[in-house]
């Protein structure tokens, strides 16, 4: 029987590649029995799904290019174009 620590690594890896059959079976069996690992997997899937849904949407950020950087870049563009 694998520990939750080991299984959490399999859960993470399963997001990036197809696991070998034996690991896949071990993971499945563990998940049936362990709600904490199920919870971990669900969180990872959610984080991925949420990020991919709005990956280019940065409108919620409020940061702005500083005035100094803005002027510097503008001058650079003006001088080179």
């Amino acid at each position: 029987m694998r520990t939750c620590k080991e299984v959490s690594k399999l859960i993470s890896e399963s997001l990036d590649r197809k696991l070998p059959l034996r690991q896949r079976i071990a993971l499945k069996m563990h998940l049936v029995l362990c709600r904490f690992c199920r919870r971990f997997r669900k969180d990872l899937q959610y984080i991925r799904g949420h990020i991919r849904q709005q990956t280019d949407d940065v409108s919620i950020y409020e940061e702005k290019l500083s005035d100094i950087a803005r002027d510097r870049i503008q001058r650079l563009l003006d001088s080179e174009s």
């Binding site: 520990t3 870049i73 563009l77």
Partner: protein, 194 residues
Amino acid sequence: MENMIEVDNKKLEPASWVEEHGDFLYRYAVSRMRNSESSEEVVQETFVAALKHIEQYQAKGTERAWLLGILKRKIIDFIRERTRTVSLSEEKIIDLPDTLFDQSGNWNKDIQSAGYTPLCSLERKDFWRILGGCLKKLPSRQADVFVLREMEDQGTATICSELEISASNLWVLLHRARLQLSNCMKMSWKLDSE
């Protein structure tokens, strides 16, 4: 009629780039790089590179999408350089964070007993704010691989070759990053709602 053609035939206008796209590109960079100074640098490099290769622009996509494509490439370059200079002590990535598991490898008691607050009920704005805050708390290399994999949707083979790390090294980094991020996001959210 002439005007119509002008409009259809999209032209780039470098003079207004900073005004039109500066903040957008900067925010995108900050969300990936977590550092305002380097983000400004990368945005500047993006505009300079765009100007240099202006003849490569094909009016298929928008000006912004074209600039974003260049920025994304610059961000990967930047992260690759940063990875090279991260100290070796951060290379020691063998063991998992002890705080999350007990000695026999079970989730520790705090995590087990924490009422299940599914991350999926987070508001959109909170999600990004909390994710940003938690990314900053990770060791830089872990955060970088997470950003490349999840936010930039790069394949694992690409990440390994860009950052010159082995596949098993990458699995370990991603595992650690995800463990700590999901835990941190839950904790931050819990603190918020209390």
